[in-house]
Symmetry: C2
Subunit: 410 residues, 2 copies
């Protein structure tokens, strides 16, 4: 009934709608966003849903339950992409949800709750600096200040809405009440290597990690690489190197990951001792208290390293987000669906961010991960198999059919 090949063919069709052919880039409120939405809304309607673009540019489809107007189980993911993207990040979740509704419709099934499928217009935040704009609007946390954000061409978000045919004054209308929603459940490719390492096609997500991002700046003293004795040096890059290893060690503790992705040294000449170095830290955990304690310990450690070396340290937290915990009752029901497909139940954290981080404001959230090849994502090499796509969507359909709403347990 659900065909993995059809899911992949639809992902191919969407990948052909791009701003940067042959590479895939589809960002928020572009003509490509509109064309992709028309395709997706068509598929939603074929699957028996009432489907429209909402006021913030999300594709929103609704399949009524045994009677009209029932609270809904919301399924969804995003339709926008990063630059030079893969075909499945976000997309697979929307296509799988549509395929599930299509299967219900073909079987003539109505459930004691409605199903809504949302293809969020913006999750990645490529065009405007905000991320999760689509889901934040649904969750009622869209900040009107975002309307002043400008894209690289200087177009404001407000102007982009008008050009797309949307009225920015009406964005507030898409906010949903918690009583409308029984849960928000998202299927997504893992974007990591753990399911592949476990030999499993799908797994149940326990939480979307919270993160802290730091900008670390070390100031030492530049000098001639030949004339300044080692003992008298205040080498900012050598200090940074010691700090980077401290970040790596800290990230190696259970429940954490930590990364230094960017580094610069100034003046940056082969024969000059660096007088300044700057690097980023990205630390993530499903456990906010653990992450906060680790950031505090790391900060103390960097302070000790730089004091010992006689260089100045400036640490600024540039961004942080709390972990979004998946509801245990949803994990249990998703786990039961996966097991019913004959797959060992495996639970894992999501290190990447997802729309659930916004949706948790108005609904309990659950996520199902589908294995992707070598954990590669945000890359044209992103790959899944038709078999895994089919298993993922079938598991989601089992979950839907067996869905028993429970009160919010958060």
């Amino acid at each position: 009934m659900i065909s993995g090949r059809t899911l992949l063919a639809r992902a191919d069709a969407l990948a052909a709608i791009t701003e940067t052919p042959p590479a895939l880039t589809r960002s928020y409120l572009t003509p490509e966003h509109k064309r992709a939405s028309e395709l997706v809304l068509g598929w939603m309607r074929e699957a028996g849903m009432a489907a429209e673009l909402d006021a913030v540019g999300n594709c929103a489809g609704r399949y009524e339950g045994t009677e009209p107007g029932l609270p809904c189980l919301m399924l969804g993911s995003h339709l926008d992409t990063v630059r030079d993207a893969g075909k499945y990040d976000g997309i697979l979740g929307v296509l799988s949800a549509i395929a599930c509704v299509d299967a219900l419709k073909r079987a003539g099934e109505r459930l004691p709750f409605a199903i809504e499928v949302i293809g969020f217009g913006d999750e990645e935040g490529v065009r405007f600096a905000g991320t999760l704009i689509g889901s934040r609007a649904l969750a009622g946390s869209f900040d009107p200040a975002l309307l002043e954000l400008r894209d690289a061409a200087g177009v404001t978000l407000a102007e982009a809405y008008r050009k797309f045919g949307l009225d920015p004054a009406r964005i507030g209308d898409v906010a949903r009440k918690p009583s409308d929603l029984l849960a928000y459940v998202e299927l997504h490719i893992e974007q990591g290597p753990r399911l592949e390492a476990e030999g499993l096609p799908a797994g149940v997500v326990t939480a979307i990690a919270g993160f802290t991002r730091l900008q670390v700046e070390i100031t030492g003293t530049a000098g001639h690489a030949g004339t300044v004795p080692m003992a008298g040096r205040r080498d900012a890059l050598a200090a940074a190197a010691e700090c980077i290893l401290a970040v790596e060690r800290r990230g190696g503790e259970p429940g954490l990951v930590a990364t230094v992705g960017k580094i610069e040294a100034a003046p940056g000449a082969i024969n000059v001792i660096p007088g300044a170095a700057r690097f980023s830290v990205d630390m993530r955990s499903a456990d906010d208290a653990l992450r906060e304690a680790a950031i505090a310990a790391l900060t103390a450690e960097l302070r000790a390293i730089t004091e010992r070396r006689g260089v100045a340290l400036d640490i600024r937290s540039t961004q942080s987000s709390r972990a979004a915990l998946c509801a245990p009752w949803l994990m249990d029901q998703l786990g039961a669906a996966v097991k019913a497909e004959g797959i060992k139940e495996f639970r894992l954290m999501s290190g990447a961010g997802h729309d659930g981080m916004a949706m948790i404001r108005v609904a309990d959230i659950g996520m199902l991960f589908v294995r992707c090849t070598r954990g590669i994502s945000h890359n044209p090499a992103e790959a899944i198999t038709a078999e895994d796509a089919e298993i993922g969507a079938r598991s989601l359909l089992r979950f839907i059919r067996a869905f028993r709403p429970e009160g919010r347990t958060r």
Copy 2:
């Protein structure tokens, strides 16, 4: 007889001849090089020297000894500068040598050897990629292949000679025979902090350090900073950080210095594990065998670090130079001159490169360092005191008057 204030005033006059006012930049074969040379040649003639630009653009002055045509004690340094330079690097050595000859002329003294003073046109190599072009021509090691070098505007070195009024075919004529030269002695600012730390205005140089420069490239695997577990990472930057600390440790061994001045990580995003990192190594020592052994040990250490981390390592040696040892007999005579000025004799290595590296091919070399403020050089903040300039030049004059040539001891 010798005035430190006059030396500083002349340095100021030369600093006013610049391509980038108010900053000081004076590079090889420019109109500013010509104007500065006219000024210097005038001072040489006032000091009783026959003085001309030679075929490679050096200012060359000669003060005959007790009879014409005697072998010479050659004194010199360079007149070109780095970009946004200080006023004394190179310049002070030329001005001090002229001041010494001027003092001899005023006293009516002729010595049993000639004195030649050379203001080299190119030591820094700012305009063309070659360095030490002036002294290499004198030492007979000018490589005609250099004539094809182009500056940033695409002008070849050969064209630049012609535009300056020189015939590139005649550069070979400036090469000197070892029998013409009793020694090559250069006074230079230290460009480092050691004399200041010792509380001494001048010191005797033991050697110009040899150096090895490496380009190190580490290739790991890029990945999502949130989704790849720490244990599965092949983080090129974390590996580079460990290598940088190994370079620093190695440079801390007696007789060595080592510096990582440049680093890059790719792709260089806050939320992406670096898949590649590249950094430079600059290692220097007065002892070639020590430096070579240290490079071999460092290479083995970097190999061990990268193998343990499962990342690929590529090390290329981009440049190297043997140490130029100052002749013990010249060190002794320079030391005696300094002591006669009432200064404790202090010997130190030059970590920076100097024209003696080229001149050692045709003459024993000696160098006298003059203290500079906080070791700062290659910077407009470069500073010396009139007192130190005077002590330096007076020591050089004492050395000249007491000079007893000895056979080459290398």
